[in-house]
Amino acid sequence: MKLQTAWLAALTAVLAPAALCAGETAKVDSVSGGLFAKSAGQSWRALKAGDAVKTGVHLVAMPHSEIASANDAVQIVLFADIGQRGPLAVLESGLSLNEAKDADIDFTLERGLVVVASKKKAGAAKVRVRVASESWLFTLHDPGTKVGIEVFGRVPAGIPADLATIGPPLVEVVGIVIAREAFLDQGTMGVGLKAPPGQAFFHWDSAEKKLAVRRMDKLPGSLIKPFDDRQSKLFKEVCAACSHVLHEKGVAAWLRELTEGDNKAQRLTGVTLAGALDELPVVHDVLESSKHADARAHAILVMRHWLGREPGQVQKFYDTLTKKKGLSDVQARSAVQLLIGFDEEEKGRPETYDLLIHYLRHSKQAVRELAHWHLVRLVAKGKDIPYDAAAPEAERQKSYERWRAHIPEGKLPPESTLKKKAP
């Protein structure tokens, strides 16, 4: 009998399709598009279904991948957006796996959206999720329990005179129990969560550092609404763009090909991927030289997203601009400042508008694009003034003059709320 048991165990070990070695804490279940992995000091590589994932590896999914814990108790689904923004401007999803000591799987959610689901046939599954300064232990009580978690970070607005004084990004986390019941253990407190109808929705941000929970009577119907034909076609295009063999021409060359293409979905996917895979020079080049306004606007979003990923990104970005793109100190600082944007006080000062309107004639297309991006958001009437940062100088000059006429030097926009009598 003993021999039979040993034989069965050995056979199982040989035949098991995803048997994991030491240090491997998860395996890839499926990939739609691309799932990219990077270990410290190494370059990105594409993963495929069945591949094992080691502890400490950073994963980036575009647009959709599924991984499972080593013991197959928990599945993590990574989702992405390519720029059709929701309120939390989620782009790619990124996480890194940690050694699981008190849970079936332990990961740090770096950005984007994941859904964790219990695959157990019976009993509770445990998932440790680290996000910003938090470490949460989710107990997924029953098989089929699903919890979605979305994380978003941005550098606080406000033009910094000294880049070294910029603080850590503000991080915001929202989540919802999609199916069945879970318990969230925050370390100092815990809260029971239940899919609608119940306490399904939770929120945390790094400013307040408090977990807030809200009851939902039902999941919005849109949560499970399938794609229509047009959307399915677009999804396939995005998947096709992301599933390119990563090292055929090198990551940067592949991304440049995508961002310079005539297909809009591919262009924007390329820009998102460039940010996701830390190819900042590619994102910068889109902003500086792309003839497509949609790609330039998306590049701004991707850069802001990249800066808000974790502390220290601003300095890295500045270094990239000065060392790899040859920008002067002043030009790089101006670009960083424009990406971070203006705080409420700066929005109320005439010189902010002088600065932005002046930048509409700047020699660098990236600066012109950024200035216009802010102006049309700060000045409602600005949307009526056509401007293309990539247009010939004479055309840009006409737009500049219209802007100057609308906001004379030293003045606030006529529609500025600071001038109106407060309600």
């Binding site: 859904v115 607005a157 407060a422 309600p423």
Partner: protein, 352 residues
């Protein structure tokens, strides 16, 4: 669940974040969130990847339409009730209801403004002293009526950085020259001959103003040099010798300096520079009474001295909240509901 279905879930999930946490949290995006721009902008995005969004928007739109229709129906019913009641009213009184007396409107607006300033001010309204000036008359009233607020001690070190003016909002602010005309130049302005010249001229002018002996020639020279330094700053920015952040810092400083230099010509300049006109007081009642007695208003903060303004603002809020426990203060602070008041007075009934 198909891939498409799963992705549809994403969009809806994202949008869910917009829903406020009723009773527990004001919303996913509290005021001052670092991404303040409209969530959608024409030409943005690939045209619909996370597609639940569109359907959510449509669904929300439908809901709004239905709600609006229900509201219209309700309004129609109310209107019918109102029409019946109107016939029994004196037409003159009815017209008055629609056009409240100026004083009533002013009180109503002022109450709303005060409420907003005390709950959701803009940073610029605090650093410009506007928020403090709006609260000042109400706190003065509290002090005059002897209503006790919480015993908040004002930090005297910080109070030194609070600027005052005799001319109210938009008047000249001498605060930047209060240290005998010695100013701390921001990085973008340091080192030029014009800056060095001003460094010498400003203390001389301040001394002359304090002894009421400033002559026109010195005053004109000062204003000319300030304008010249402002031009130099602009040229540096245009030539990309300084970045946008340094330019904004320098420009804000030059605006303050320009205002201060122009203020030297005002009759109250000597008293301000001598320290006679200053925000003084160990407690909130002392501060507001001193301000009232001297006819002073808060002036904008000097560049880099924003913190004391936020501290004083918070102290004013804490004091007024404490004082608001008193019925006397509540009566003044509560926004006026004109319609309720009208009907209470004339018909002794409220049609709402």
């Amino acid at each position: 669940m198909s891939a498409a279905t799963r992705l549809g879930l994403v969009a809806g999930f994202s949008l869910l974040a917009l829903t406020p946490l009723s009773g527990q949290y004001p919303g996913v995006y509290p005021g001052g969130y670092p991404y303040p721009y409209p969530p959608t902008y024409p030409g943005f995005g690939p045209g619909g990847y996370l597609q639940g969004q569109a359907s959510v928007i449509n669904a929300t739109g439908d809901l709004f339409v239905k709600q609006e229709q229900a509201r219209i129906e309700r309004e129609k019913a109310n209107q019918a009730k109102l029409d019946t009641q109107k016939k029994s009213f004196d037409q003159r009184l009815y017209e008055k209801m629609l056009t409240p007396a100026y004083g009533e409107v002013a009180a109503h607006d002022q109450a709303l403004l005060l409420k907003r300033i005390m709950t959701n001010p803009m940073q610029a309204e605090i650093t410009s002293g506007k928020a403090h000036n709006i609260m000042l008359p109400f706190l003065t009233n509290v002090a005059l009526q002897g209503i006790q607020g919480p015993p908040i001690i004002l930090d005297q070190q910080q109070m030194r950085y609070i600027n005052v003016t005799t001319t109210g909002e938009g008047g000249h602010n001498l605060g930047i020259l209060r240290d005998g005309g010695k100013v701390k130049w921001p990085m973008a302005l340091r080192g030029s001959p014009t800056q060095k010249k001003l460094d010498k001229l400003l203390p001389e002018a301040v001394t002359a103003v304090a002894s009421e002996s400033l002559d026109l020639k010195t005053y004109k020279e000062l204003t000319k040099e300030v304008a010249k330094l402002t031009d130099e700053l602009r040229t540096k920015f245009h030539k990309e010798e300084i970045d946008g952040g340094l330019y904004l810092d320098g420009k804000r400083f030059m605006d303050s300096l320009d205002s201060a230099v122009r203020g030297l010509a005002e009759p109250a300049a000597a008293k301000t520079l001598q320290g006679t006109f200053a925000a003084t007081g160990r407690t909130m009642p002392e501060l507001v009474m001193n301000m009232a007695q001297k006819g002073l208003k808060f002036a904008p903060a000097n560049p880099g001295n924003d913190t004391p303004y936020f501290a004083l603002y918070n102290a004013m809020i804490a004091y007024s909240n404490g004082a608001a426990d008193s019925n006397a203060f509540k009566t003044q602070f509560a926004p006026v509901n004109l319609y309720e008041n009208y009907y209470d007075k004339t018909t002794k009934s409220n049609i709402k």
